[in-house]
């Protein structure tokens, strides 16, 4: 299922990006990191995740108050992590579980 794989890859990329934003701090994130966030957002738009994109817009909006940007980022972290968990559950049936040798 290519769609499933696309979603999985996009979620993994999001998680990875969020981990780096958390390491650097939202208020100190440099331009390359923010540009990566915008690229991830564009991919999400293509996959049809508009509500998630709005969260990201708010988190990256340099005109908005810092605390509301931080809250939006936390909501985004929660959204991505929850989606990854649900994806993992979807793969957790005896038929689809990967073989032990992998």
């Amino acid at each position: 299922m290519p769609e499933q794989d696309n979603l999985q890859a996009w979620l993994d990329a999001g998680q990875h990006w969020l981990a780096r934003v958390q390491a650097a701090g939202l208020s100190c994130a440099g331009h390359p990191l923010l540009a990566e966030g915008h690229a991830w957002r564009a991919q999400g738009e293509l996959l049809g995740w508009a509500p998630v994109c709005r969260l990201l817009d708010l988190a990256l909006d340099e005109q908005a108050a810092l605390s509301s940007r931080a809250r939006a980022l936390l909501d985004l972290v929660a959204w991505v992590a929850t989606a990854r968990r649900l994806e993992a559950v979807a793969g957790l049936s005896p038929e689809t579980a990967p073989p032990a040798s992998r």
Binding site: Q15, H16, L18, A19, V21, Q22, A23, A24, G25, L26, S27, C28, A29, L66, S67, A70, R71, L73, L74, D75, V77, A78, V80, A81, T82, R85, L86, E87, A88, V89, G91, L92, S93, P94, A97, P98, P99, A100, S101
Partner: protein, 553 residues
């Protein structure tokens, strides 16, 4: 009323109020003194024992006073009560009308809803109502002398409300002058009888919990803005203190989740590998819970979000139990303990019995040594693990925790243990998937399983993530992975497995806790049976290895 209370007063109630030692000394003092000079009127009594003066000004222990230097209960007052009761019993036997026989009264049902607050105070009543609303309940028993309530959670206490004397004469093993335990027992009895009680509070956050939640949000916002690289150790300490305060504000689940995040931040600061990649998940877990608790109405039931679980124990009898594993453990919050696990072949359920202590409060206590010496109903752990036992009488919670309270009785099960196949992995997997789909952030209840082993992979140690794993397959080919941390007791388990595998042994059966982690079926192992070996290996407590174990073949 006063005389009725004294007449019906039983030794257990006096011992709860004072203690058994004082009661004994009181009985001795009474035998040695002359009670002929004591006065006993309808509403007061006085005596002189060992040169001190005792007075009773009304019904209940609170109305007692002695002029000796002891603070609170003393043996003089015990002697005083015993002597007064003795006199009333003698009068009744002689047919004296002054001592009326006690009527089978139920003073805990008397009066209106406000009588509880009048007897125990507003604060105790409010606290008891909170407990009742959160489903903390005492086990009630109505006997000849009165109402007895046993409370285990959130605090342990035994309450007695005598038939004679009313609520003022109620005692509690907590020994406070007035307490929420007493209020709870009376509230429960009234509720059960359909009598009026004050309105139960809405299940929600109290002011201190609300304040802590606001602090937590500020802390998380600061963490996100400054980044893990930008915050120092003092900031992390602040998070740790907040985790403790959340637990104290009756939000143990959020406290434990925050503690997990704090631990990752500490790992990250000492550059322990893998911590940074796990941070988003830990952060999300805290944020989802905190947000859920602040939302009205809450998205999930309050006890679930708060982590306050009802743990009422029910009496069980005639349950056949087979020991399947023993474990020594330590939590991030500094609680150390041991658990012994049993399988009940008749129902297929698992039961556990645990003891634990806080490391800070009891640094001398060693869980491994305690496990070796522990006894359940007088039976030592190796014997418990060696053969089947029948629980003649015991108490267990709905989630299978056995209480080791007095009165628990075990006997060695006769005959050969019945053949008992391992669990079928497909069944718990299905349940696990259903629960996670219903609420992906729910901490799934610990699911114990015993699995037969088919394929065996190679044990891998991941230094970066500080954990080890051993891929296995069940006989039908479903893969699962044994996994644990490298540090602590789980690291000890890893070394036990390594040694066995290196010696050419093959696991035939594993017992542990099932979960899913990133799409993998993971078993945190507790015990292993090697093919061809007679006993079980308890991975975190290998010194118990001598136990033969019940045959499950």
């Amino acid at each position: 009323m006063l005389q009725q209370w004294l007449y019906a007063l039983d030794d257990a109630a006096i011992a709860d109020w004072a203690n058994k030692g004082l009661l004994k000394r009181g009985a001795k003092a009474l035998a040695a003194c002359d009670s002929g000079q004591w006065t006993l009127a309808a509403d007061a009594a006085a005596a002189n024992i060992e040169g001190h003066t005792q007075r009773l000004g009304g019904v209940g222990f609170a109305a007692l006073a002695c002029d000796c230097p002891a603070f609170g209960p003393c043996h003089h007052l015990c002697a005083f009560l015993l002597g007064l009761r003795e006199r009333l019993v003698a009068q009744a036997a002689a047919g004296d009308a002054a001592a009326e026989p006690p009527a089978p009264a139920t003073p805990w049902l008397d009066g209106d809803a406000a009588s509880i607050e009048q007897a125990f105070g507003a604060a105790a009543t409010r606290r008891a109502l909170q407990w009742l609303a959160r489903s903390f309940e005492a086990e009630l028993e109505e006997g000849d002398t009165g109402l007895v309530g046993q409370l285990l959670d959130p605090e342990e206490a035994t309450v007695r409300v005598p038939r004679a004397g009313g609520l003022a004469a109620a005692t509690c093993t907590c020994k406070a002058a007035s307490c929420a335990h007493r209020a709870l027992v009376v509230l429960q009895a009234r509720q059960a009888a359909g009598s009026a009680i004050p309105q139960l509070p809405a299940l929600g956050l109290e002011a201190p919990a609300r304040a802590r939640l606001a602090q937590l949000e500020d802390w998380l916002v600061a963490l996100v803005l400054q980044g893990c690289a930008g915050v120092g150790p003092a900031f992390v300490d602040q998070g740790e203190a907040l985790a403790t305060e959340l637990r104290q504000a009756d939000l143990p689940r959020l406290g434990a989740t925050l503690q997990g995040l704090v631990q990752l931040l500490r790992d990250d600061q000492v550059r322990r590998g893998g911590a940074a990649e796990r941070l988003p998940d830990a952060l999300a877990a805290v944020w989802v819970l905190a947000r859920g608790l602040r939302r009205e109405p809450m998205p999930r039931p309050f006890p679930e979000l708060a982590g306050v679980h009802r743990r009422s124990y029910r009496r069980l009898g005639g349950l056949l139990l087979h020991g399947v594993g023993a474990e020594v453990w330590e939590t991030l919050a500094g609680q150390r303990g041991f658990s012994v696990y049993f399988h009940a072949p008749e129902s297929g359920r698992y039961f556990s019995w645990s003891e634990s202590r806080a490391r800070d409060l009891d640094p001398q206590w060693q869980p491994a040594a305690a496990l070796e010496q522990a006894r359940l109903a007088g039976i030592a752990v190796p014997a418990l693990l060696q053969r089947g036992h029948r629980l003649e009488c015991g108490w267990a919670s709905a989630d299978g925790r056995l209480s080791a309270r007095d009165g628990t009785r075990l006997s060695v099960a006769d005959g050969v243990a019945p053949a008992c196949p391992a669990d079928d992995l497909a069944t718990p997997l299905q349940g696990l998937g259903e629960r996670l789909r219903a609420d992906p952030w729910q901490r799934p209840p610990q699911q114990l399983v015993r699995l037969a082993v088919g394929a065996v992979g190679a044990l891998q140690v991941d230094r970066a993530l500080q954990r080890w794993s051993l891929p296995l397959g069940d006989p039908s080919g479903i893969p699962f992975t044994l996994r644990g941390e490298l540090a602590g007791f789980q690291g000890l388990a890893c070394r036990q497995l390594q040694a066995g595998l290196a010696a050419g042994r093959v696991p035939s059966e594993v017992f542990g806790r099932l979960s899913q982690q990133g799409g993998l079926v993971v078993l945190a192992p507790i015990s292993v049976r090697w093919a061809g070996a007679p006993g079980l290996l308890h991975l975190s407590a290998p010194r118990l290895a001598a136990s033969r174990g019940v045959s499950h073949a």
